[in-house]
Symmetry: C2
Subunit: 349 residues, 2 copies
């Protein structure tokens, strides 16, 4: 098992990235880590060289670079070289905390889509307040627009992830909608509902509303990239703002506030922990020929190690290979079905 | 000034509604309140009869009724009679805490749209964490789908509301999008961006992201009804879930938790108060020939009184009349423009 690591991506790169890899190495001595980036910088943080390869390059992609242009022009950037390694079979997965758009572009244009997945989506496991389970949601914004067929593909992808990586049997798939009734929604959600209902392999539980997401109403929630992006950012913004208001009002309460906060330290920390979804690993650009994983730019070593664990599980469960087979089978069935339809039409005449 | 009140709408009707009206009467003795509903029930809570008319009816619309059907079939329902009064000029505005869909239908089919507003939208003033100002957002779900022209109409409506009712000079209009750059977004948001930029009367500040909404990034935020509905429900769901987790973990902390919570009582109450947007009044179904206002089914007397204050300000500022004039002017200009365009085309030939 070989993971290509963009050691130069993220706000605290390469230190946080390499330190995270060193942490992960303790649990996963069998993984080969390929660290792409400035060798002299990387080497400072390598405490154990076994199974570690450093591939030196001076070039890197910055967070402010225009994604597609960066991927096309900066052929020697650490992220591009790491993606090339996956493409050419020298690595099995890629991890980066760098420019999200550039990683999406690298995934699409260098590594490539699974046949049958039209528009790979961005997926994260988000926190459920009532349990430790979490739920997977996609697309969180890889696309600004989606068709019903894409959402069905997301349901298949999400279902595989929930079962293979999170160990959930027969994951419950929900469609994000503006009401729970079957007749509710936009043209997109109404058509998607019909298609999902017809997918006998999926445990489709119907429409779910945004108010119920953090209650664990479904194990996998599918939506278009525009809505998913808005919902994810709303969760983050609401949580951050509430925590900030609480903190301010505790500080304003003076000594009483300090004492109260001290007594509630564990409770307040627990609240923060509940919302922190880095514990589930990074975001997956899902539907590509290999795992492509992105973490926040501010990611620290622990979150990097957690993400390596996630990638290990994805590779170890052979999820991508199974997905390739599944989508090929689906394609065949649809092909057979459309041949049958054509025959039927001839008969009808 | 005459307000038609659906006294039978809401979980605690007619008690909470009539008590709220009685509260509001103290500040607004000049308003005539028309209370539609079961007279014997309503009369129990009327403590001051001056300027109060009770219009008796036995019929009412339930929260589980199918909206359009209910409006068409239940001709004598309290909500329908109240809407009829507005249509026929016997009242100036309508207020209900009942079935939202039915009120939308009553507004559209009985009271009718302002000429030039294609798809009235649902608008609420939502809380800003860093100040007491709040921001107006629409459409929150009156429509499942919107065109760019609708969003421009929402910007005009929202701007009028922010200036006339909330007293904000030159309100900042933001377009909800999945990134702040002009080139970001779906076909809908890209086209809307262009149109909003061309509206010289609006203070359009560009795209805003969902993460920044509660920071007060704009005074008015426009979006399509599907996204708006998802964002509103996500804010509510996230806030409710966080408060519940905090409460549970305080209870789990035993005596220490109880003591800490006691010390932080004001801070925790302040947090709840920050999120409670009933203080800004009810949701406006906006773009109709008269104010149509909806509050939560669980609304209590104080929130009803607050909503009466909001309706008073809407009526007192003659906002709807000005909007009618504004949209007529807009229509004329576009008409003149299209005549010019036609002439130009003739010249070109």
């Amino acid at each position: 098992m070989r993971i290509a690591v963009d050691a130069m991506g993220g706000d605290h790169a390469p230190q946080a990235i390499v330190e995270g890899v060193m942490l992960a190495k303790k649990d996963f001595p069998m993984i080969e880590f390929q660290l792409y980036g400035k060798e002299s910088e990387i080497r400072k943080y390598v405490t154990d060289e076994t199974n570690v390869k450093i591939i030196h390059t001076d070039e890197k992609i910055y967070s402010e670079d225009e994604p597609v242009k960066a991927i096309r022009k900066k052929k020697q950037a650490s992220m591009v070289l790491a993606a090339q390694a996956v493409k050419e079979g020298r690595a099995d997965a890629i991890f980066s905390a760098g420019n999200t758009g550039a990683l999406l572009a690298a995934g699409l244009f260098i590594i490539g889509r699974i046949k049958g997945v039209d528009r790979p989506g961005l997926m994260s496991t988000l926190p459920v307040m009532t349990s430790d389970a979490g739920f997977d949601m996609l697309d969180l914004g890889a696309n600004a627009e989606n068709k019903p067929e894409h959402l069905v593909q997301y349901a298949i992808l999400g279902s595989f992830y929930a079962s293979h990586v999170r160990g959930i049997k027969n994951p419950r798939i929900g469609l994000l909608n503006n009401g729970t009734e079957e007749t509710k929604g936009s043209e997109l959600t109404k058509k998607t509902y019909e298609l999902l209902k017809a997918e006998s392999d999926l445990n489709f539980i119907g429409n779910v509303e945004a108010r119920e997401l953090l209650n664990g109403v479904a194990d996998v929630v599918v939506t278009d990239g525009f809505t998913g992006n808005a919902v994810l950012k709303t969760i983050e913004g609401t949580a951050l703002n509430l925590m900030a208001v609480l903190k301010d009002s505790i500080l304003d309460a003076g000594l009483k506030g300090k004492l109260g906060a001290l007594l509630l330290k564990d409770s307040l920390r627990g609240l923060k922990g509940k919302m922190d979804y880095a514990k589930y690993g990074g975001a997956v650009l899902f539907g590509l020929k290999a795992p492509v994983i992105k973490t926040h730019g501010a990611t620290g070593p622990e979150a990097v190690a957690q993400t390596i664990r996630q990638i290990y599980t994805m590779l170890d469960s052979h999820m991508v290979e199974e997905l390739v087979a599944q989508f090929e089978e689906k394609k065949k069935q649809e092909g057979a079905f459309s041949i049958n339809e054509k025959l039927q039409k001839k008969v009808d005449k």
